[in-house]
């Protein structure tokens, strides 16, 4: 049996069990909708303008935050990775800040910045800087010294070594960091929408649907949309990474 057939059997089985559990009355049909109702709701939402605005608001905040985080984290990582003194000096600060879950800063950020989109973006940047920065520092540690020495003996200066040798060989790791950060940024954006009482956003939509009338069909449809976005981003970045860095010999993580 080919793999794709098994894939489809698995998915069909999942929906059949879900539908069956609801039909048999094992759970309350009012609180747990069967999959065909969720699918119908999903189809309605996709063409619904106000839901589209919610999705766009969330995706836009995410899409603005991620490049900013890359712009901060990669230079910072290169700096801290290549200057041992700077690394030692900032280590205590970094180790102090890192364990604080980024979402714990949401109430503070709401007070300092307000409840608007800038709060989403600021916190998403803050949260996504860490994985990219750590992966960059790590990558600099892992650089083959032979490459650096070769470049040096060809007369490359510090900056040129950085641009021509260090950065390219660090890229696969940096990219893994970006992939992790893409997921984290989305989590932070949605959480800010919950807590800040945002006007727009997929998080706001789902929370409003759950708290008011307990419309699980709407909540699940929104969850499927968020999941699809998360899946496409992760899968897209992973494929892109595999394609761009096929020359790389480093073992890249899968998580």
């Amino acid at each position: 049996m080919p793999k794709i057939v098994r894939n489809l059997i698995g998915l069909a089985g999942f929906f059949a069990i879900w539908e069956g559990v609801v039909k048999l009355g094992l759970v309350n049909e009012h609180s747990v909708p069967p999959p065909h109702v969720v699918a119908a709701r999903l189809a309605e939402l996709v063409v619904d303008t106000s839901f589209r605005k919610d999705v766009i608001a969330t995706v836009l905040a995410w899409a603005i935050a991620l490049p900013i985080a890359v712009g901060i984290a990669v230079p910072a990582g290169l700096l801290l990775g290549s200057i041992p003194g700077a690394r030692v000096a900032t280590k205590a600060v970094v180790e102090f800040l890192r364990p604080i879950p980024s979402v714990a800063l949401i109430p503070a950020a709401i007070i300092a910045i307000g409840g608007g989109p800038s709060t989403k973006i600021t916190l998403a940047v803050y949260a996504s800087v860490w994985p990219i920065m750590f992966n960059t520092i790590y990558a600099i540690d892992e650089i083959d010294t032979l490459l650096v020495d070769t470049a040096r003996s060809f007369g490359c200066g510090r900056i040129k070594v950085m641009a021509r040798v260090a950065l390219p060989s660090a890229l696969p790791f940096v990219f893994t960091g970006i992939r992790l950060s893409a997921a984290i940024a989305l989590i932070v954006v949605i959480t800010v929408e919950y807590v800040a009482g945002a006007l727009l956003g997929i998080g706001k939509f789902a929370l409003a649907a759950s708290e008011g009338s307990g419309r699980l069909d709407l909540v699940l449809a929104a969850t499927v949309v968020a999941g699809a976005f998360g899946y496409l981003v992760n899968e897209g970045l992973e494929r892109l990474g595999r394609y761009w860095f096929r020359w790389s010999t480093v073992v890249r993580g899968t998580s």
Partner: protein, 265 residues
């Protein structure tokens, strides 16, 4: 001696200077938003050790938060390792559930908060469910991956020593999979802390997250910062415990640092 002193100075000077600048600036500006660090520490001591409501802070907030985080995480560890081992050992298991699991894993775990609010309400069941759902995928999928890395030398060796069937999983498969499993455990631990905070920020019934929101609502920023610091300490402590366990259980591994890069937070 001198070198050690220099190293110590180098290591701590920036943090100390930053905290010092914060202290002076906050005292001079008198801003209620950013209270000086010494005040935050005093506030923390009063909240958790010396003040009148110390007992309530522990029994109503800190311990419930910790229990939910660790409880949810441990449930995920059990489910993830058992199901992951079974799926990793079976020839076609992952082909049936792979796409479904990949999708479940890609759902931003905080999206499950509204789902479980409808199903379970605002209390502990909802928070536990969110933490379990959010943390189980990295453990499960890393276990599947790890179980599949058992190489032919390991299986042949075990076979030539006539390792009995019932000891096969425990003494061959799981040890070989352990580095991968630990990578999953680390990722999921930071997700567990994050989801604990989020579920409490939204389901404002008890816990550290709830304290954060109520301090924000009452505009008591010193209290808010104190709880943030506590969350940092908890996150650090849980991660440190896990690292100790990992070091202990993976002593025999020749080189593990290639697995370390994925521990994103």
């Amino acid at each position: 001696m001198n070198r050690k002193l220099l190293w110590l100075v180098q290591r701590w000077i920036v943090l100390l200077v930053l905290v010092g600048v914060w202290e002076l600036a906050a005292r001079r500006a008198g801003s209620i938003w950013f209270p000086p660090p010494t005040k935050i520490i005093d506030q923390g001591i009063e909240l958790w050790f010396s003040g009148p409501d110390t007992a309530a802070a522990w029994t109503d907030d800190i311990l419930p938060s910790l229990a939910r985080t660790l409880g949810g995480w441990l449930i995920s560890v059990a489910i993830g390792i058992i199901v992951g081992t079974a799926l990793g050992r079976s020839r076609h298991g992952m082909e049936y559930v792979g796409p479904l699991f990949a999708f479940m894993r890609a759902i931003p775990p905080v999206m499950l908060v509204p789902v479980f609010i409808v199903l379970f309400g605002l209390y502990t069941e909802m928070k536990l469910a969110v933490i379990v759902f959010g943390t189980v995928w990295p453990i499960l999928l890393n276990t599947v991956d790890g179980v599949r890395t058992v190489d032919s030398v390991q299986t042949d060796t075990a076979r030539s020593f006539r390792t009995p069937r019932h000891r096969w999983i425990g003494s061959v498969v799981l040890p070989a999979a352990l580095p991968k499993i630990f990578a999953g455990l680390r990722v999921s631990m930071s997700i567990a802390v994050l989801l604990m905070v989020v579920s409490e920020l939204v389901g404002k019934t008890s816990g550290i997250g709830n304290k954060l929101v109520s301090a924000q609502r009452q505009f008591d920023f010193t209290i808010m910062w104190a709880w943030i610091v506590l969350l940092g300490i908890l996150g650090y402590g849980l991660n440190a415990l896990l690292l100790v366990a990992e070091r202990h259980m993976l002593r025999w591994q020749p080189s593990r640092h290639t697995q370390r890069l994925q521990a994103g937070g």
